[in-house]
Amino acid sequence: MADHRPPPPQRFSLRSQAFRGVLYQMLAIGVIALALAWLAHNTLENMRVRGIQSGFGFLGSPAGFDIGESLFPYESSDSYWRAFLVGIVNTLRVAVIGIVATTVLGTLVGIGRFSRNALVRGICYGYVELFRNIPVLLQLLMWYLLFTEMLPPISDAINLGLGIWVSKSGLSIPVPVWQRGQTLALCGAVLGLVAALAWRRYAQLRFEQTGRPLPTFLPGVALVLGIALLGWLVGGAPTAWDVPVKGEVIVDGGAAATPEYVSVLLGLVMYTGTYVAEVVRGGIQSVAHGQGEAASALGLSRGQSMRLIVLPQALRVIIPPLTNQYLNLTKNSSLAVAIGYPDVVAVSNTAINQTGRAVECIAVIMLVYLSTSLGTSALMGWYNKRVAILER
């Protein structure tokens, strides 16, 4: 008699999905490992044939090239790793200041596109479309050309007033001479900020208990400025300024920015600003119409409704794409190599040409940008968690 029991469940089958999954994964890893091994083998073979040495040992030997600008002392006899450090600091200098400036510009333009004034709307639209559709490299080259060709040589530097000089050799601005008064003023500003935050917290608590709003913005500004002023006065109210003075061949004193730095910064900010403006506009548009209408029905002014109702909700939509734009700006700062700004790519490029260690130098570039990207993402991710409204 035939056995009608169902077959026992199979533990293992060559046709099961699980087995095939494992097989595919092993195949994929195997193929990629083989390809990588082949590339590595070729690279080593090529290096042996061409007599290229490898390893990061060269970082300790003297670089032997000068770098146009550096935030800390550097000479051509310094080691390669110091040269790389100069490049990394220069990259970060562009990235950090660029991110701040681009946020301000982009937010203003993005809000400007909702202006009630048609001219303001038109100018914001024109700016976005014009600067977004021209390659950023071309824009950098154009700014640089404007700075180096159109401006007069340093002997005929133009005075923009207030001791600001501009010429082919860059921009010189007056800076206050740093004395005890400034230090105390800075401490005062920090103290004021703490006090302003404490006031805001108190105002929030009061509002939640009594429903009466207390002004926070103006008192906050007054606190920061007032305590800073107090510190400055206590420090003896120093008023010395280091004003640039034009000599025969140089503009001396004050703080100076090279044309390379100004062009890179201006080009990146103008380009990325368009994208940030679009992100901000999209974010504001994503807030439902009813929210703004409800705000005005409650008697909030246009500014209040923007600040208290629309922007906090728009921020949720804005933060993730804004992070992408910050990363793009940082990555695009590598284009500085085209106009001779000594960022990390330019330094690596020189190092490759001098030592022939392409693999190591490109690894340095990639490592720097990868860590910056991951760091920025982590920071913005943390901020995003803070502004995200918990959904039901």
């Binding site: 004034n117 048609a118 559709n133 790519v345 570039i365």
Partner: protein, 367 residues
């Protein structure tokens, strides 16, 4: 008694809300702040716009004559350099007598792009058309067949190279991107990890480092004795770079497809590849057309970077035209404006198209 007809006083006409004057009143002088801004901006325009027009048109020099240009320097623009070097800027170092070939090839390619953007032509035949036109492009540019003189790829340049690099890298990146996007959503952890690492790695580094890799390290990767053309190396570099970004766009489309679609396909007995090919991808890819278009625009702009690894596309060929010539060197800024206009024309029209197609494709979702 008789009532005498007494017309009441006519009511005042309602405030006009249509027409130019109300529009101006509402949009330029809506409130005090708006009015101040308008007056300020109009005054600025009245001061600077005539100067700009003066410089760009009225006092500009159009004849290709360096001395006239020098005389007008600082007063009027010098478009003469562009008139003189027009063909060098557009076609790079391509042999002068043969430049009808890149012209024809570029026109073919642009026509193909326009055809690919026209919805009624979206069919299988388009794939065949692509193969034919890309083949014709290379045949025309490279020569060596049908009696055309061979032209080495290092002589290719200008606008044809820009269009070639951006188009081919996106076309080559697309299948790779679909595979990577599927891989990132795969159930298999190893494949998912590989694809994620690839995408995040590429997206974390700037294009220029990928191009440096293509120009400095690719020669080391190949077996000794094998030399790969620099154009091909750069093309591979841009393709690998674009693939990571396109994969993210495609992944966005895949995520938008409801889970039920896949479950329904599985319950009908379709396998993984059948499900993806017949159910998921057709819906997902239709969603991501605007995103891919935007990717194409950024790739188009990014090709200007290859000038850093000495391939002379549009930006590079402008440098070729102006840097070596002392007479015209001071008027390079006009040259930059000229190619900026070319880039703008391409990118702006593509971004308009992207917006239009987005509206078209969303039509079925709107109710």
């Amino acid at each position: 008694m008789s009532t005498v007809f007494q017309p009441i006083v006519a009511r005042a006409a309602p405030v006009a809300t249509e027409g130019i004057v109300p529009w101006v009143r509402r949009n330029l002088f809506g409130d005090v702040r708006s009015a101040i801004a308008s007056v300020l901006l109009l005054v600025l325009a009245a001061v600077y716009l005539p100067q700009l027009i003066d410089w760009a048109i009225v006092k500009a020099v159009v004849q290709p004559d360096a001395e006239t240009c020098q005389a007008a320097r600082g007063v009027g623009a010098c478009w003469g350099g562009i008139v003189e070097k027009f063909r060098l800027i557009i076609f790079g170092r391509y042999p002068f007598g043969q430049q009808w070939r890149p012209l024809l090839a570029t026109l073919l390619m642009v026509a193909l792009l326009v055809a690919s953007c026209t919805r009624p032509l979206w069919s299988r035949w388009l794939v065949l058309l692509w193969v034919v036109v890309v083949g014709a492009f290379f045949a025309l540019m490279g020569g060596g067949i049908a009696g055309l003189a061979p032209v080495q790829t290092d002589l290719w340049g200008g606008l044809p190279l820009t269009i070639l690099l951006s188009t081919l890298s996106l076309v080559a990146a697309f299948p790779l991107a679909v595979l990577i996007a599927l891989g990132r959503r795969s159930q298999l952890p190893a494949i998912r990890a590989l694809c994620t690492v690839y995408v995040e790695l590429i997206r974390g580094v700037p294009l220029i480092s990928v191009l440096f890799m293509a120009s400095f390290m690719f020669p080391l990767f190949m077996p000794p004795g094998v030399n790969i053309n620099v154009l091909l190396r750069v093309l591979v570099g841009i393709t690998l770079f674009t693939a990571a970004y396109t994969a993210e766009v495609v992944r966005g489309g895949l995520q938008a497809i409801p889970k039920g679609q896949r479950e329904a396909a599985v319950s009908l007995g379709l396998g993984y590849w059948q499900t993806q090919r017949k159910i998921v991808l057709p819906q997902a890819l239709a969603l991501v057309v605007p995103g891919i278009m935007n990717n194409f625009i950024s790739t188009f702009k990014d090709t200007s970077l290859v000038t850093i690894v000495s391939l002379y596309e549009l930006t590079g060929s402008l440098g070729l035209a102006f840097n070596s010539d002392g007479d015209w060197r001071p008027f390079k800024i006009e040259g930059y404006l000229f190619i900026a206009l070319i880039y703008f024309a391409f990118c702006f029209s593509m971004s308009r198209y992207s917006l239009w197609i987005e509206r078209q494709l969303n039509r079925s979702r709107r109710r």
